[in-house]
């Protein structure tokens, strides 16, 4: 068993997800041992078989709610946690799993599974904040590991995380990347997408595809107009807004407005 300690207790919980966001914590190769110094890692199954009972000071929650069992379990996590932080697009916006929200999930079941009657699943994939109060939401598919460290550090020091809600465009300009849409006519979701990745795609010569979800007050209608001038069809627009943050309100509305 882990030793008794007075350090804040950290727990990491997984719901429907790819494990990538909690892996970001293990990917902090240079900072991992320092983090482990500051907190007691009380529940983190991807890393340890030792678990410590709650309550926990900080709970990081990865993944979306897609089964009746998980819809119950998230309430237990909330009750056991002082601060509950969602990490990544699945936990914050339903993630790629929310593509099921636009289809008949029973049809999906029969496509993937041999005997669908045994599968327990909900018809929608929903973000954590649809079920319980969330103290802070970290965006991204996956999260940016430095933002994850910033959130942890802010909580440990009793301050607000310093994470800005502006667009990928702002990061692009800061990085000195030439605009792919203006210079080359490549459709890019950067103007409506939340910052956090460091304008990765434009820096690699491709248009942003929206991993971090909508920024605050995005003008999606105007961007869609420009996309059409660049040759995109209605179907393309539906797909563009409907990917890793398909259930976030602002992208959902825009995608639906292009559906025939």
């Amino acid at each position: 068993m882990a030793q008794a300690t007075t350090k804040p207790k950290l727990a990491v919980w997984k719901f429907a997800s790819c494990d990538g966001c909690q892996l970001s914590l293990l990917d902090c190769e240079e900072e991992l041992l320092q983090v482990a110094d500051q907190v007691e890692i009380a529940y983190f199954l991807e890393a340890s078989r030792a678990t410590v009972k709650g309550p926990y000071d900080i709970s990081l929650v990865e993944g979306s709610i897609t089964t009746p069992h998980d819809a119950e379990r998230i309430h237990q996590v909330r009750r056991a946690s002082r601060y509950l932080i969602t990490i990544g697009a699945c936990a914050t916006a339903g993630g790629i799993q929310a593509l099921r929200n636009y289809k008949d999930v029973r049809e999906f079941l029969s496509l993937v599974y041999a005997s669908p009657q045994y599968i327990q699943t909900l018809s929608k994939s929903t973000p954590i904040h649809d079920h319980v109060f969330v103290d802070y939401e970290l965006r991204g598919c996956p999260v940016n590991k430095y933002q994850l460290l910033e959130v942890l550090s802010a909580l440990l020091n009793g301050r607000k995380p310093n994470i800005v809600p502006h667009s990928v465009c702002t990061e692009c300009k800061r990085r000195g990347v030439v605009c792919v849409m203006v210079a080359r006519g490549t459709p890019c979701l950067g103007p409506v997408t939340h910052a956090g990745c460091g304008a990765l795609c434009p820096a690699y010569g491709r248009g942003c595809y929206g991993c971090f979800g909508p920024k605050e007050t995005p003008n999606t209608a105007s961007l869609s107009k420009r996309f059409k001038q660049l040759g995109m069809k209605e179907d393309d627009l539906v797909r563009a807004y409907r990917s890793f943050n398909a259930a976030s309100e602002l992208f959902r509305r825009e995608s639906e407005s292009h559906e025939r």
Binding site: L23, I41, A50, L111, Y113, T121, G205
Partner: protein, 429 residues
């Protein structure tokens, strides 16, 4: 002796959510189940109606640990459908990217997930208190793999730079200088890692497995080759579905892959190593012989050593690829979609990952099939557990349970990957 049931609700240090149930009745072993209760995730269904261009980005989201494998299998399958061949420096860059993922994924598993079992630690952080240098070095080595993926792919998890036909942007020669220096250090560190893993107390355990891996005429396999086994399988990738069947076993609610008319098989590091030892670099072969781990290696607990040898190979191969690199004229080959079916199979860190897509004339996906490595290993994992429990039934309960967990971790199971198609059973007692 009375049978002792074992039940581990949430397996630790694996990727995703799985559980283990071992049941005795009247002192007799009755049931062994490696259960998967991770919520089902309908990727094959999500892919319908999406563009071929999106397949690498969408399938990457099946797994945060081996996204490159998904991107590679998806890209190759689409290129197969459209009759496109990616060669020269673009092909080399793909191998280089895969080297990064192998290093990152293998070292994560060796040092953070698996080694603590051999030494009796609950986790790597506990291990770090008594072996700080070792854990620090491993983290540094893992970082080199991640840095390589981030350099070529844009970021470590769900890279953004892979596309059907090649890449969005390719590095200049000088962009690789820094990582080349890191890799020289990493190669040395990997040699030490092989020696260290070989010095671990490795349980004696052997079974007669059928190993399945890709085999290429000249290379240790990443992206291409024929599917071969030590028991006579030798097929092209597009024959996969004719030879591999999925069966529904009554005691478990999961679909198990097996070779038609034969049975369980093993994919992953042990399979590649046993079938392709002669394709490893001279240094990797030499170090393997030095520590006495050579084919045929039938002890799954030795997979930790083989993973370290493959890590060494990946460092060596990455350095070779960088040394001969000249940037291509174009970052990608042009692709013209047509109505077709394409197959792709590449070597994920955990073993072969098969993709098949049917697309229409606009490149819109009509149908998709994905068979990840963990689904293929599941039957062998349960086979190991049967024998292990029977041979060690007199061990104290806690010790036997831990040994079973360790045996599952031999396969570095990626449960998140497997659940896009495995059937689900939640047992609550």
């Amino acid at each position: 002796m009375r049978g002792k049931n074992i039940k581990v609700d949430y397996l630790a240090r694996v990727e995703g959510e799985g559980s283990l149930v071992v049941k005795f009745r009247g002192g007799q072993l009755r049931e062994v189940q490696f259960q998967i209760f991770e919520p089902p995730r309908f990727f094959e269904a999500f892919l319908r109606g999406r563009s071929y261009r999106e397949a690498p980005d969408i399938t990457a989201r099946i797994c945060g640990i081996c996204p490159v494998a998904y991107q590679m299998s998806a890209a190759h399958a689409m290129e197969d459908a459209f009759g496109v061949k990616v060669e020269g420096p673009l092909r080399d860059l793909r191998r280089l990217l895969y080297c990064g993922e192998w290093i990152e994924s293998h070292v994560l598993h060796i040092a953070l997930l698996h080694a603590p079992d051999f030494l009796g630690y609950q986790d790597a952080l506990q291990m770090a208190r008594e072996h700080p240098d070792l854990v620090q070095t491993a983290l540094q080595l893992k970082k080199v793999g991640n840095d390589l993926v981030a350099l070529l792919g844009g970021r470590e998890i769900h890279p953004i730079n892979v596309k059907v036909g090649g890449f969005y942007r390719v590095p200049r020669r000088r962009d690789l200088n820094e990582v080349e220096e890191q890799l020289k250090w990493a190669r040395e560190a990997a040699v030490q890692l092989v020696k260290w893993t070989a010095s671990l107390p490795i349980p004696l355990f052997e079974r007669d497995y059928e190993f399945v891996a890709l085999r290429h005429p000249a290379e240790y396999p990443f992206n291409e080759g024929r599917l071969v086994s030590n028991k006579g399988l030798d097929i092209a990738v597009d024959e996969f579905e004719a030879h591999i069947v999925e069966e529904h076993v009554p005691y478990s609610n999961a679909l198990h892959a097996r070779i038609a008319k034969r049975g369980a098989y093993v994919v992953g590091p042990l399979a590649r190593f046993n079938l392709n030892f002669d394709r490893l670099s001279p240094l990797a072969q030499e170090v393997a012989k030095e520590v006495g781990v050579v084919p045929p290696c039938r002890n799954p607990f030795q997979s930790i050593v083989v993973r370290a040898i493959e890590t060494l190979y990946a460092c060596d191969e990455a350095l070779r690829l960088i040394a001969q690199y000249t940037p291509p004229d174009q970052p990608a080959v042009e692709v013209h979609p047509c109505a077709a079916t394409g197959h792709g199979c590449t070597e994920a860190p955990r073993g072969i990952l098969y993709h098949r897509y049917r697309v229409d004339e606009y490149g819109i996906i009509l149908d998709a099939r994905i068979v990840p490595p963990t689904a293929q290993n599941q039957k062998s994992i349960e086979g190991d557990l049967w024998e292990l429990v029977q041979a060690n039934a007199d061990l104290p309960q806690e010790e036997l349970q831990w040994r079973c967990e360790q045996a599952i971790r031999n396969y570095d199971p990626c449960i998140s990957c497997a659940t896009h198609f495995l059937r689900l059973q939640v047992e609550r007692e």
